[in-house]
Each structure stands twice: as C-alpha cells, then as structure tokens.
C-alpha cells in the first residue's frame, strides 16, 4: 500500500507544507470522525448478530453465541437467497458489460448526434432505482404496453418464476448499462490513436484489435465499472421491493430482501443481521480485490 501511495501521489507539494503535518490531519478529522460514527452501528450490528434481539423488545435480549449463524447455514431459504443474489449479480453484470461496451463503441464513432445520445444515457442514472422498478412494473403489467407490443396477450411477467427473474435482471440492466457505457466510452476516448491506425494499415481483424489493443487499454475502466457495479448489484433491494417483493415463492428473494422480511415480519433482528453480515463480507472481499487490481493497473500505466 505504501509503495503505490508514493507512485500515485500528486505533484509534489511545496516544501513548506510538508513541515505542517498536523494540518492535513486536522482537515481530514471531521470526515474521519463521521466515518467512525458509521463504524459504531456496524460494530453494534456485529454484536447483535450474536444475540436473540427482536425489534419488538430491543431491550430484552440475551447472548446466544453462534446460534444465528448455525441456524442460517441450516436454513435452505438463506442458501436460496444467496444463490439468487449471486445469480442476479453475475448475469446482470455480464449483460451490462457487453451491452455497455457495444453502446460505448457505437458512441465513440465520429458522427453528429453522439452528444445528444450521451445526455440521453444520463437519464436512467438520474432515476431512483425504486422509481424505475415501479415504472417497469407498469410496463410489464398484464395489460401493459410490453405485452401489447410483443403481441403476447395478458402475460403476467412478474408472477411467473422464470420471467420474474428475467424481469428483475432486465430492469437492473436497463438502469445501469448507461453508467457502464459512459465509463467505457471515456476509456475508448482516452486511447491513443496511433496503434489503432497502425492495426488498420496492417489489415488486422476487429477481433485482434479488440483482444490485443482495446481490452488491455480498457482494463482499468472495466475494473472501475466492476468495482462500483458489483457492490451495488449484490445489495439489490429497491427494484425487487418495487416489483416482485421477492416472489413468486422465493424466486427473486435476495439477501437484503430476506433480511428485511425477517426483521419487519418476524422481528428477528439478530438473525437478519447475521445474514447481511455475510453479504457485507463477500462484498468486502470482492471490492478489496478489485480495488487492489485497479491500483496496480493505474500505478503501472501512470
């Protein structure tokens, strides 16, 4: 960490600043304190996960050791939700990356109108996921416009297991692909022109250019996309809450949805927290790994 921080640091600060070492610490203090404030409930969360605390009687609880965790791993609902969470995350990310790359490629073409397209791409990003969920619920309702356009009759998209899953993924992809496209577009535009022109002169195929030139040059951008998307898609809650509510049966229940239901329907706070802590741990490991890779890449590129 120390090595990368030296190579990454910004233009040299003036020497007289270096002596006033207390100044940066004082300036970062408010933000640091705020973050410690956030750590406090997190610490409480870890503690609660070892108790039988219920939200209806939050003052009367006792320490139960690993009971919540043991019941969790024995609970098929937990594994199903974890599977759903990972399934949604992986499938959605693949679609977002592929579609996002194709859109970025399209918008990197030198034609009029790409500026308007870029502004258009911002629209889904400005929309609250829960509102986008409601919007698509309307679109996908049995008498809604999607069935009409596809000439499907009153097909209940959100009530049939396979299409409920597909719909949740579709909505997530609709919301987030523009973000992926915009980041990858910035990546494409930051590339030097010469290697591509040389490849064209040599008559290289697009597949070759993609694998040998684009992909390596885009990799820091792909990593940044992953870093932000993985975390968000793993905590998928708003869209599902607004559309399927986790159903039909358990088919679209993710870990946050499961935990929410456990707390506000069965009042089992300790047990619910144990489940979201597992989610946090997975998130933390993945994002730490991705961030490390991203630092390596950006440090070596400069």
């Amino acid at each position: 960490m120390a090595v990368t921080s030296v190579t990454q640091s910004t233009p040299a600060a003036p020497p007289e600043r270096k002596r006033r070492n207390w100044l940066p610490l004082i300036m970062t203090l408010p933000a640091t304190l705020a973050m410690i404030g956030i750590l406090y409930p997190f610490g409480i969360a870890v503690y609660y996960s070892f108790t039988d605390i219920r939200i209806v009687s939050p003052n009367a609880y006792k320490f139960v050791g690993l009971q919540n965790y043991i019941r969790m791993v024995q609970n098929p609902n937990f594994w199903e939700s974890l599977g759903n969470t990972l399934f949604f995350a992986i499938v959605a990310l693949i679609f977002e990356l592929v579609l996002g790359f194709l859109i970025a490629l399209l918008l990197s073409q030198d034609v009029k109108g790409v500026g308007i397209m870029r502004a258009l791409l911002l629209l889904p990003l400005m929309l609250a996921p829960v509102i986008a969920g409601l919007m698509w619920k309307t679109m996908l309702s049995p008498g809604g416009p999607i069935n009409h356009l596809l000439n499907l009759g009153p097909y209940p998209w959100l009530a049939v297991p396979w299409s409920a899953r597909a719909s949740v993924i579709f909505i997530e992809v609709w919301i987030s692909t523009p973000f992926v496209a915009l980041v990858l577009l910035s990546g494409l535009q930051s590339m030097p022109k010469e290697p591509f022109e040389a490849a064209q002169v040599d008559g290289a195929s697009f597949g070759f250019v993609f694998r040998k030139l684009m992909l390596p040059m885009l990799s820091p951008f792909i990593l940044i996309v992953l870093l932000f998307r993985v975390v968000d898609v793993m905590k998928l809650f708003d869209i599902i809450f607004a559309t399927t509510g986790g159903g039909p049966m358990q088919i679209t229940t993710t870990i946050p949805i499961l935990a929410y239901k456990e707390v506000f329907r069965s009042y089992l706070l300790g047990s619910a927290i144990a489940k979201v802590l597992v989610l946090w741990l997975i998130n933390y490991i993945v994002s730490f790994w991705l961030a490390g890779k991203w630092r390596q890449e950006t440090a070596s590129v400069g």
Binding site: A13, P41, I103, L122, G143, L182, V183, E197, F237, L269
Partner: protein, 282 residues
Amino acid sequence: MKNLISNKIIIYGLMLIVAAYILFPLLWIFLMSFKSKMDIIAIPPKFIFTPTLDNYKALFGVSGAETLVTGSAFLSYFKNSLILSTGSVILALVLGLPAAYAIARFRFKAKEPLAFTYLSFRFVPEITIILPLYVIYQQLKLYNTYIGLILVYQLIALPLLIWMMRSYFEEIPIAVEQAAQTDGYSWWGSFSKLVLPLAAPGMAASIVLAFIFCWNNFVFGLMLGGNSTQPVTVGLLSFMGTNEVQWGLMAAATIVAIIPLFLLALAVQKYMIRGLTFGAVK
C-alpha cells in the same frame, strides 16, 4: 479512432434503437401521467388519447379534482426529499471539503490509506448499518427525524463528495497557489480567491451528483423514517396502495420527482460523466 462502421445509416439506426430502449419507458410514464383512469386501464393500451391534468391536480391537492389522502400527501414527501437531500449535501460539504482538499494537496503518510478508507464506506451494504440503527435510533429519539436521516445519508454523500472533489482539486496546478502565496496572498486568500473558483464547475457537478444520489435513496427512508420524514421515493410506493393501484397518480408523481433532477443533471452534464467515475477517468 477511425469509424468502425462506415455506413452512417447503420450507425444512426443503431443509435435510434439505443435511444428508444432508454426513452420508451420514460415516455410511456409521461403519457400515462396525462391519461384519465379509463384510458390507463384500457386494453389494448392507448397511445392516442385526450390528455387530462387530473392526475397532477390530484397530486397537488387542487380542489375540484378527485382529492385523495395519498395525493395531497405527495407534497409533504416532496418537501421531505428536498430537506433531506439539501441537508445531507450541506453536511457532507462541511465534513468532506477540507478532507478532499487535504488529500489532494498535502503529502502525508496516511493519505492513500485514508482516501481508500473513505471510499470503502461506499462498499458497505446500507442494510448492514440500517438494521442496528433501527433500534439505536429509537433509543436516541432519532427515529423518524430529519437529523437522524441526514446523518445516515452521509454514508452515500460523504464518500462521493470526497472522492469527486479530490480529483477536481488535483487538477488545479499547485503553481497557481504557490504564485498567489508569493504574491502575498494568505493561504486562505489563495484558496478562496483562486482555488475555489477554479474548482467551481467540478464542485457543482459533485454537489448535484451527491444531491441526486440522496434524492434517489429509498432504504434509509423506508426503514428509519416515518410518515412525517419519508422521502418521495418511499411516498411513491403508497400509490401502489393497499386496495387499488393509483397508476395515474404514480405516473404524475414520477414525472414531478424526476424533472428537477434531469434539469440539474443536464446543467452540469459535462463534468458529471467524469464525476460518476470518481476521477478514474481523466
């Protein structure tokens, strides 16, 4: 890069498909917000109809329109969203601006680890913090208060502002400040008269983006707010109501809730695309 596709008609055709993909649902909701109840539930769905302002009237509780409790409550949800988002951004600025500047400008040991720690809070699933807070807030009397919500909104606003502002500060050549200081400006003088104006567009983009992220948040209000503090994202769900879905009201409310954001976003669009990527993209 030279154009991959030489035929402009194909390029525009593809662009049209992308535009339709993005716009169609938004357009549909927009149309729906001007439909009467009968037109909304019509099968097959109507693309051509006589527009009415009834949904908007009901939403704003204009008398004469079909007044609904849910409709007039919308204004208070809207007000809550404004208070929560504005308050959160202001607090995040106060807490985060000095930190962003220090990380961008000074060399100190804890610099990169600290910067990464701030960012890492973005990786915490909000629900991990909210569930224990549900109990803690009730004990501290912070449940269903603006202050309580603004404090937890920092989880979104603060890392975002610090990271974006850091990259904007880093872009201002340090020579600007050094020159000003040799010209006799105090540190504060050079900061307020030179650095801040130069950083202003980036700052505007950061503020807008943080505002939008707060505005769009759903889970905090859902679990830590009550009727008097819940934002518009939570309020909208009430139109999906217990007995009958208020499609028209929902559509009108959606349009009202997103228009201010679209306008804000378009104003700082150029800077925002970079801001969204947390300065990873220069």
